[in-house]
């Protein structure tokens, strides 16, 4: 099995699916579904074949452009493999949710599958050149999906999304060109090793002068826009609310994780000491992301905008955990335990937020379809009575987003706070407010949409039909499963966490 290039196969598979679906028109959704299921199964196979010590496994290494240090280098550890599963899962959910695309369905599903391929490529590449191609490539299908199938203000939203992310990417590219100029390497693992033993800093200093901090800032800027970190988040509410809901699911479930993944795979290992040096301002920004995201969500009236800001808030916890980890502990055991808890929490939160947020936008798309496009919270009321199953299942997803113990959303957030509190108690204490406000926001949504008197126009609001229940059941099941038995993920993520922390230097 290990002789098969599984990571290449999983990246090529959606590309082939995209090519087929371009020419199958009405049947393209079926093609996309089959491709999506195949990718999900393959990602689970990859998950089962991870090395037990948490290091990067399933590596594929070929020369590509040797004169430029460009190699075809793939590999995943617990973090990468979990992101593969998440991408495959969210893509499949998105394809399931997009059953009412009448305008050029072939192109739509081809772009969705290309985006999936972009995600797979980003989460498996270990050479900057190769990685950057996929990082940029995933933008293009996303841009066209928003631009061609989006809401009334899709044009500006798509352009802002594209340009904003490009600006971040350019900063990232410049930094890596400088690093390549100084070291002659583009390989993440090599560069991380050089950063650990100090050669990277010395070579950059020798060939470019004292610019290491600027390089770190450039790399951070690229990821900060993608995640996003406040105040670089303003593209997000517009893009999330103008994109068609299945695409919003991909944006929040998959693409937002690219930024967090990049911080963990690239920024922390290569620029650890620099990030540790500016840890306090970064923590301030992370706390700001959490607090302002939660409160800005409270001010919104549009369901999609509420959960767009709520996504900012939830990813803020990931950033909080990441920046809190970036501190030199000097071998202090209890601090190392806290770092491990926070990092486990960050990785779980990435997965759980992806799953829950994608489910929420799926439900919103159903509400929109049933109400003829409405999605203001004040337009509804009492939907619990005409559509009890709908209200119940969406309620579970909402409570998962709120962080109710027993559902998946709780586990990651709890571990992050468990880890961050000893490392930076002020940041943790202020951020807890975000949990409180998010709870208030989500309960307000439940109150306004599902309870109270039923307006006459919604007296016959249709409940979930068989097909929708069938599609949602596994998602809701997973929400419970990961909430009650998070060990099934932690047992494979924790070795990677230990491995990473043992190799990072701050």
């Amino acid at each position: 099995m290990n002789s098969l290039p599984l990571l290449t196969i999983i990246t090529v598979l959606p590309v082939i699916g995209a090519a087929i679906s371009l020419f199958t028109g009405r049947h393209s959704r079926g093609v996309a579904q089959v491709t999506g299921i195949a990718c999900l199964l393959l990602s689970l196979v990859i998950w089962m074949h991870l090395p037990a010590d948490g290091s990067i496994g399933l590596q594929e290494l070929h020369q590509w452009v040797p004169s430029l240090g460009v190699q075809y280098h793939l590999g995943v550890d617990g973090l990468g493999a979990l992101m593969l599963i998440l991408s495959a899962l969210v893509s499949l959910m998105s394809i399931d949710a997009a059953h009412r695309v009448h305008h050029e369905p072939g192109l739509f599903f081809a772009l969705v599958l290309l985006l999936e391929a972009g995600l797979f490529g980003t989460f498996t590449a270990l050479n900057f050149f190769h990685w950057f191609i996929f990082w940029e490539l995933s933008l293009i299908p996303a841009f066209f999906l928003i631009k061609l199938w989006g809401g009334p203000k899709r044009g500006p939203a798509a352009t802002q999304f594209f340009v904003y992310t490009m600006v971040g990417s350019v900063a990232l590219l410049l930094s890596f060109l400088a690093v390549y100029h100084a070291t002659g390497s583009m390989d993440f693992i090599q560069l991380a090793a050089m950063a650990t033993n100090g050669t990277l800093q010395n070579r950059v200093l020798a060939s470019l002068g004292p610019v290491m901090m600027w390089l770190a800032v450039g790399v951070l800027a690229g990821f900060a826009v993608k995640v996003p970190l406040a105040p670089f988040h303003t593209w997000l509410p517009a893009a999330y609310s103008e994109a068609p809901s299945p695409v919003t699911m991909l944006l929040t479930g998959g693409m937002s994780k690219m930024g967090v993944y990049g911080l963990l795979r690239i920024a922390l290992p290569i620029f650890g000491p620099q990030i540790a040096a500016i840890r306090t301002p970064l923590l301030v920004l992370a706390v700001l992301t959490i607090i302002m995201g939660a409160w800005a969500a409270a001010a919104q009236k549009d369901l999609k905008r509420i959960f767009a800001y709520s996504s900012v808030n939830h990813l803020g916890y990931c950033l909080l955990g990441i920046f809190a980890i970036a501190v030199h502990t000097g071998g202090n055991v209890s601090d190392s335990v806290s770092q491990a808890a926070a990092l486990n929490g960050v990785i779980l939160q990435m997965f759980n937020h992806g799953l829950t947020a994608a489910a929420l936008f799926w439900f919103i798309s159903m509400i929109q379809f049933r109400s003829g496009g409405l999605r203001g919270i004040d337009s509804f009321g009492g939907l619990r009575k005409p559509a009890p199953v709908f209200a119940g299942l969406m309620g579970i997803a909402l409570f998962s987003s709120l962080g109710l113990p027993g559902l998946n959303g709780f586990v990651g957030e709890f571990l992050i706070f468990r880890g961050v509190f000893p490392l930076s108690w002020v940041a943790a204490a202020v951020s807890v407010l975000g949990l409180l406000v998010t709870a208030a926001v989500i309960l307000t949504v439940i109150l306004k949409v599902f309870t109270g008197p039923v307006p006459e126009r919604w007296a016959t609001f249709p409940d979930l039909h068989g097909g929708e229940r069938l599609g949602l059941a596994p998602v809701i099941g997973l929400i419970f499963l990961l909430g009650l038995v998070p060990q099934i993920v932690i047992e494979r993520v924790n070795p990677t966490v230990q491995y990473l922390l043992a190799h990072w230097r701050f």
Binding site: Q160, Y164, A230, P231, H233, T234, W235, P237, I291, M292, W295, A296, A298, A299, Q300, V437, A440
Partner: protein, 396 residues
């Protein structure tokens, strides 16, 4: 009962004096605070709910001044007699045809005999009626510890005042519900056995549990501290203890008496103002509005929440959004400038050059009009000119 988990936490976390001091003060003030509110409520379950908050205050204070054994003992006894009272309230509500307003009850001691007897047992246990009720022993242990507390006597007096209030509001409630004439709708009736049997069982414990915590045989304290406790009557042989028991008994009697004096057997009409309201209107107003705590939260925490949400949204749109818009405008301006430069300077020069070439081309093009004679004439002209040049240049 939910207090149990918190108390175990506090007990294991504390040990330091400042923490216990805070716990004591918070507990004692909660005991009085909630009891005050309970005085002026008319919903039978709401009175019991505020009473529960008040008793949780006693437990916290007990924890602070006397340790785990003292706090936990009141927690256990309270669990039984408060469960009894809430179930009794349920029986009353059921018997009075789903009425929860105590002003629309009255005289239920007749038709609801079992509920009445058990409810009064629970009420006396809650008030801390001397000697025969568990609440007396558990609350007395707290008050005794508070009197010996080295830091301040404040909590001791607060807890005594709370005991007075407890006896008062429970007497008020029982008078309204069980005495006087029935003022509700229909005919009240006793609840079925399935409801009254649990009441009787709980009433038994509301009395009997006291035996586990008397000064003569403080079994519960021994259980918590994991020591064997012998029975010895000499436990009562402390003058200070006896004085305290007397004081707290007198306080309870005062509360019961005051309540009965104001409310006993009066059967006021439902729309009539409360007896206390007639006596001291401003106090009643404040208490009936629950000391305006809900309004305070509304004006502070809730108002802040909505205000800050607006601010966050505003910052997002006006500050960050405008910043992005400004940068966009700058880039657009730069692009316009470039276009202008291209169009006027670079393109202008290029166009000028092209124009000249074109104009020049036009003159030449006019000659090439395809007429043989013109070509021949030009040819001849050329030959003549060349010949002239040759002759001219060949001249010596």
């Amino acid at each position: 009962m939910s207090a149990g988990a918190i108390m175990r936490h506090v007990a294991s976390a504390s040990g330091s004096t400042p923490a216990l001091t805070v716990i004591t003060w918070v507990g004692a003030s909660t005991a009085v605070f909630a009891a005050l509110i309970a005085v002026a409520q008319n919903d039978i379950k709401r009175i019991l709910a505020y009473s529960t908050v008040s008793q949780l205050g006693y437990m916290m204070a007990g924890l602070g001044v006397g340790g785990v054994a003292v706090g936990m003992f009141h927690l256990i006894t309270h669990a039984f007699f408060k469960a009894l009272l809430f179930m009794g309230a349920g029986s009353v509500i059921h018997g009075a045809h789903e009425e929860q307003d105590i002003r629309r009850m009255g005289g239920l001691s007749g038709p609801m005999r079992i509920t009445f007897v058990t409810y009064v047992i629970g009420m006396l246990a809650l008030c801390g009626f001397p000697l025969f009720f568990s609440g007396f022993w558990s609350k007395d242990a707290i008050i005794e510890s508070a009197s010996e507390w080295g830091i301040s006597h404040g909590p001791f007096f607060l807890l005594l005042f709370g005991a007075l209030l407890t006896a008062f509001y429970m007497t008020r409630q029982v008078s309204y519900v069980f005495f006087g004439e029935y003022r509700g709708h229909g005919h009240a009736h006793e609840s079925p056995r399935v409801m009254t049997t649990p009441l009787a069982i709980l009433a038994f414990f509301a009395v009997a549990l006291g035996a586990l915590g008397t000064p003569a045989w403080p079994w519960f304290r021994g259980f918590i501290d994991n020591t064997a406790v012998p029975f010895r009557m000499a436990g009562f042989n402390e003058p200070a203890l006896l004085v305290l028991m007397l004081i707290s008994s007198l306080v309870v009697f005062a509360g019961l008496g005051l309540g009965w004096w104001l409310y006993g057997n009066k059967s006021p009409r439902p729309e009539e103002p409360d007896a206390l309201q007639k006596a001291i209107p401003p106090v009643w107003t404040v208490l009936a509005n629950r000391l305006y705590i809900d309004e305070l939260y509304g004006a502070t925490v809730i108002a802040f929440y909505y205000w800050w949400a607006k601010v966050a949204d505003w910052i997002d749109r006006e500050i960050w959004g405008d910043m992005v818009a400004t940068i966009t405008l700058l880039f657009q301006g730069w692009a316009r400038l470039n276009r202008f430069l291209d169009a006027t300077m670079v393109d202008g020069a290029f166009d000028k050059g092209c124009e000249e070439i074109y104009n020049g081309g036009g003159v030449l093009a006019r000659i090439q009009n395809g007429r043989g004679q013109i070509y021949l004439r030009l040819l001849a002209l050329g030959v003549v000119i060349l010949a002239a040049i040759l002759i001219w240049s060949g001249r010596p």
